[in-house]
């Protein structure tokens, strides 16, 4: 099934116990697009992201990556996940491995790449995030921002078609956020397809093609940054944005 979309999400539902966190979410992403998903905490943003690579199994609905239905029974999940990079809020670098090994491991274990080739590629990816000189450092010897950049390199090394970012800067000290956003902006500029759950509205506005506002398990509103930030149609969107700008003392311009 050929399609102009890299990712199609159709009517996604997810329930935890009695609480339905996703109540029918549909979303399409074209190759090369960068979309930000914003909204209050606990509204299903992360859950939706985690459904895309099936770290969480949806209860209902379909997801396609190109022509492969990710949500189909008996699908080769390991194959699909290789094509989808995932960046976690708290980095989740492998604690017992150096930065280089963190990036290299997937190449060797999953892609069965010979060691020297994997090393070469891993060093290239570390260089891309500006951390070639930290190749032999262990996660706990790195700052949060550096750890997150290594985790981005780890995802990129698998040469994914799609990158998912789950609040990549929420666990970082304010002065470390910039270095991570810079790497992400470069990726967007290079044409990587990205879905980013974030509270960094300034970043979303300047880098993303589309902003998706989610609340209570629904997509409330989506549109270009200009439209959504300057002319939100839904009162809830307006409320959320004004609350955030109150919090940060300025509009997310």
């Amino acid at each position: 099934m050929a399609s102009e979309f890299l990712v199609r999400i159709h009517d996604l539902h997810k329930r935890y116990g009695h609480e339905e966190v996703l109540k029918g979410v549909s979303l399409n992403v074209r190759p090369g697009e960068t979309k930000a998903i914003i909204g209050p905490s606990g509204t299903g943003k992360s859950t939706m992201l985690r459904c895309i690579n099936r770290l969480t199994d949806p209860d209902q609905g379909q997801i396609w990556l190109e022509s492969t239905e990710v949500t189909a029974h008996g699908v080769d999940l390991n194959k699909i996940r290789q094509q989808i990079g995932f960046v976690f809020q708290d980095f989740n670098l492998f604690q017992h491995l150096t930065a280089l090994d963190n990036v290299r491991l997937g190449l060797m274990k999953v892609k069965n790449m010979p060691k020297d080739r994997a090393t070469e590629l891993a060093l290239y990816e570390l260089k891309r995030v500006g951390l070639e000189h930290k190749a032999n450092a262990y996660p706990n010897q790195l700052s949060g921002g550096q750890q997150q950049r290594v985790s981005i390199a780890r995802a990129l090394a698998m040469e994914p078609k799609l990158m998912l970012f789950d609040e990549p800067t929420s666990a970082l000290d304010p002065e470390l956020i910039g270095e991570v956003l810079k790497v992400m902006k470069t990726l967007a500029d290079e044409g990587m397809t990205m879905l980013i759950v974030t509270h960094e509205l300034g970043f979303a506005r300047s880098v993303c093609d589309e902003i998706i506002f989610m609340e209570k398990g629904f997509i409330v509103e989506q549109g270009s940054p200009e439209q959504l930030f300057n002319n939100p149609k839904q009162p809830r969107t307006r409320e959320f944005l004004s609350k955030l700008s109150e919090l940060y003392g300025e509009s997310p311009a």
Partner: protein, 234 residues
């Protein structure tokens, strides 16, 4: 010069004479104790790890099976287990050499305890580690092998060293199968010489020395495997 003539340099009936005379027998017993301990610990390690993996990652029947094993073994005395294996199994035409019976008994006993140490360590690894491994396309067994176990096995070293020490000391229970390990050898000498206090004291100190050596070795291993950036400064 033979060992016996060497020992005659000590005064008759002195502690050192007794100690010297006992060296050949006691060193044999010590060696056997070390062998039994290491064999049992090795068996316990392999089965303990499998039991722990079964309890953490297994489906319902596997979980139940592994849990049942752990509960049964931890809930019954080591001595009874040894006696069942050595004296009970012959009813089913299974006759084991006493040393082998002792090793197997200690091993399956230790497996249950080691399983709990391993389980605790595996479960203390944050869920994000597994998720990150899955997210780059690793299979679950791959993630367990390359990500979870290397971290869990490092974490488990301090509590696990308890089990090593216990097994060394509890290997004396194998004396109930008339195996001439360290304690039983000492017992023979004590009974023969009536020097109970002296002999048991010697035996006690040999156990102590072995424990201290093992502790030192474990510390070295722990040091070597320490993950940079995670160390606790002494």
């Amino acid at each position: 010069m033979s060992w016996e003539t060497l020992c005659q340099n000590f005064a008759e009936d002195s502690f050192w004479r007794l100690a010297c005379d006992s060296v050949p027998k006691i060193s044999q017993g010590t060696l056997l104790t070390i062998e039994i301990t290491f064999a049992a610990i090795a068996i316990g390690f392999v089965f303990g790890l499998l039991l722990a993996l079964g309890r953490v990652y297994g489906n319902r029947p596997i979980y139940a099976l592994c849990s049942g094993y752990v509960h049964f073994v931890r809930g019954t005395p080591l001595l009874v287990q040894l006696l069942i294996i050595y004296y009970g199994l012959p009813s089913f035409e299974i006759r084991l050499d006493p040393v082998l019976a002792g090793i197997i008994g200690l091993g399956i006993n230790s497996a249950a305890y080691q399983a709990e140490y391993f389980r605790g360590a595996i479960q203390s690894i944050r869920a994000g580690q597994m998720q990150a491994a899955l997210a780059i396309g690793m299979s679950r067994p791959q993630a367990i092998r390359s990500i979870i176990l290397p971290q869990a096995l490092r974490l488990v070293i301090p509590p696990w060293s308890n089990e090593l020490i216990y097994t060394l000391k509890y290997s004396s229970a194998v004396s109930f199968l008339a195996v001439d390990e360290l304690y039983w050898t000492g017992h023979h000498i004590a009974v023969k010489t009536y020097r109970y206090f002296d002999v048991y004291l010697i035996i006690a100190f040999i156990y102590l020395a072995l424990v201290l050596i093992l502790t030192k070795i474990i510390d070295k291993i722990e040091d070597r495997l320490r993950i940079p950036g995670l160390e606790i400064k002494h």
